[in-house]
Every structure is written in structure tokens, then in C-alpha cells.
Subunit: 142 residues, 2 copies
DNA sequence: ATATAGACTATTAAAATAGTAGGTTTATAG
DNA sequence: CTATAAACCTACTATTTTAATAGTCTATAT
């Protein structure tokens, strides 16, 4: 029941982009350095995020990546789903035919409750919320 | 972010034991047949549950497994933790030294929120709750 | 032109997962 | 006392996923 590094790194990269929203593109190299992720691995994550439509890329010198929407319009759920795939704790919630017991399975209801609890958090929070948290935490420090 | 089959099967096995609580031991063969799990694989799961103290075993003919406490004293969290290991969506929540950014990491707070939401469900529900749900769902059918 | 930066394709080492196989021990029923 | 039922124990294995790494190709700003 662990999240992949893909999602951990990816969310940090998106937060980095959100912190720079409106200030031009960020390069992989810069993000990777700040977040201490391998250049090449981050490249793959950015490709995933680009395919999902969350970020846009600009090629060539002075290129890089930008968010395709303002941070307050990006729910965490979108980011994590893009990176991690559909957020089902068990296969049978997504594909009932996966298990012949689905119709009457009581444990399946439990997993539905768990899923709902998780999604509740990820739908209630957007990238701007995280940006704000970063800024207040930086003020506290200063 | 998927639960292992270990946990899915294991919880179903524990629920099976809970449904028969007080009526003597259940054999692996019987549980495996009802839940459509391989005998040998279920055997491993029962060993895990036994090591964690959730079930007790009786050897020899007419032996089998029983819950070591009444169903209303077994929270789902105990069962899942026994099978799945500690329920941390990211390593750095459990071991802050895992990542050098932990102190100031805002995404880490998100994962803490997600964890709290999940654990909320798993701590609020016990095995007797599931037994009750099975019984009401059976009554509805009849 | 040329340097910069993303895009694409392939490979890989390590770990986890979901089993399978087969023999050993223990307790009970007859 | 002996046959048998059942848990117990050790080992193996095929598959998948993960987290990268490597190298080449393409677009573009200056």
C-alpha cells in the first residue's frame, strides 16, 4: 500500500511548476536539481504529465515546462491519477468481473470506504493550496 | 497504490473466521474452498496472521484456526497491518531520514492527510461490524 | 550555424508478488 | 497403537513492477 516514487517525485515537480506559475518555463535540469531527482527519470515523469494534459512543453533553448492551467484549477487527484493510474485500492472496485464474489463481498465495501476517504483528501486539495502552504511555512521560518 | 492479494484474501479469511466465531476451529481447506483461494497460499497467510497474534491454531485432526479475540475487539487496521505491513503511503512518513527534504516538504503533509483518512476508516471498523453487514445483506436476500 | 532543451526508444538490475511443491510434525479418532 | 488429518516448515519460481540509465533524434532561439 505504498505510493510509487513516480507519484512522489511527480507531485513535487508539479508543485515546483506551480510555485513558478506565470514566470515562464522551467527546465527539467532545474527541477531535477532542486528536487534531487535524476534528470532522465524526471524526463519520463514529465512525459507522463504532458500526455495527461497537465503540463505543456516548449522545446529549444529557453524552453522547458509550464502548467497548462492555473494551480488553483489543478486538484491533487488529477496529478496523482495521471502518475499513478486510477486510484483503486483493489482491482474489483474498478472491474467487478475481476472476482466472482463481488456482488455479495462485504470486504469490497470496506475498500470502497477507504477509497472514498483517500479521494476526499485529494479532491479537496488543489495545487494552489500547496503553494500557499509553502509560502506560509517559508514566512514562519524567516 | 494497490493493496496486495495477501491483504484482500487475508481479510476475507479473517471475516470467515469471525462468522464462525465460537463454533470451533475452521480448517484451511474449508476456508480456501469458500473463498476460492489456493490452499497453499492461504496457508502462508494464516501463518502471518498467527505470528501477529490475531489467530490461534489447533493441530491434528479436527484442528484448524480460530480468532484469538472476539470479532468486536479486532479492528480492521490490525488485520491489514498484520498482512500488509505498516500503512504508510510514503516511506518518509515512517522514516523521516528517508528523504533530506522531509523537514520542509509540503507534499509530505499531503500524504499524512491521506494516511489519516485511510486509517480513520480502518480504525473505526471492526470485524464484528463486517459480520453484521454480512448478516443484514443475507437477510435482504432471503 | 550551433548550442540548448525536450522527445523517443530501448535496456536493465533489483525487488516484490503470487503463487507452487514437497516433506515434517503433532494430535486425535478408532 | 496406528492411521490419518491437519498444521508447520523450507525452498523454489515465474511474472510483474519499479526505478532507473543510455543513446539518439528533433525543434528552436540567438
Amino acid at each position: 500500500m505504498k505510493l510509487s516514487s513516480r507519484s512522489r517525485y511527480g507531485l513535487r515537480a508539479v508543485l515546483d511548476l506551480a510555485l513558478h506559475y506565470g514566470k515562464g518555463p522551467l527546465q527539467i535540469r532545474a527541477i531535477a536539481a532542486r528536487e534531487e531527482i535524476s534528470n532522465k527519470y524526471l524526463e519520463q515523469l514529465m512525459t507522463i504529465l504532458k500526455t495527461s494534459g497537465l503540463v505543456r512543453s516548449l522545446r529549444g533553448p529557453k524552453g522547458g515546462y509550464i502548467l497548462s492551467k492555473p494551480p488553483d484549477q489543478i486538484k491533487l487527484k488529477e496529478v496523482i491519477t495521471a502518475l499513478e493510474g486510477p486510484l483503486f485500492p483493489v482491482e474489483c472496485l474498478q472491474h467487478p468481473q475481476f472476482c466472482p464474489h463481488c456482488a455479495e463481498c462485504i470486504t469490497r465495501q470496506v475498500w470502497a470506504d477507504v477509497q472514498e476517504a483517500m479521494l476526499g483528501v485529494l479532491e479537496a486539495t488543489n495545487m494552489q493550496d500547496l503553494v500557499d502552504r509553502v509560502k506560509t511555512s517559508e514566512n514562519r521560518k524567516a
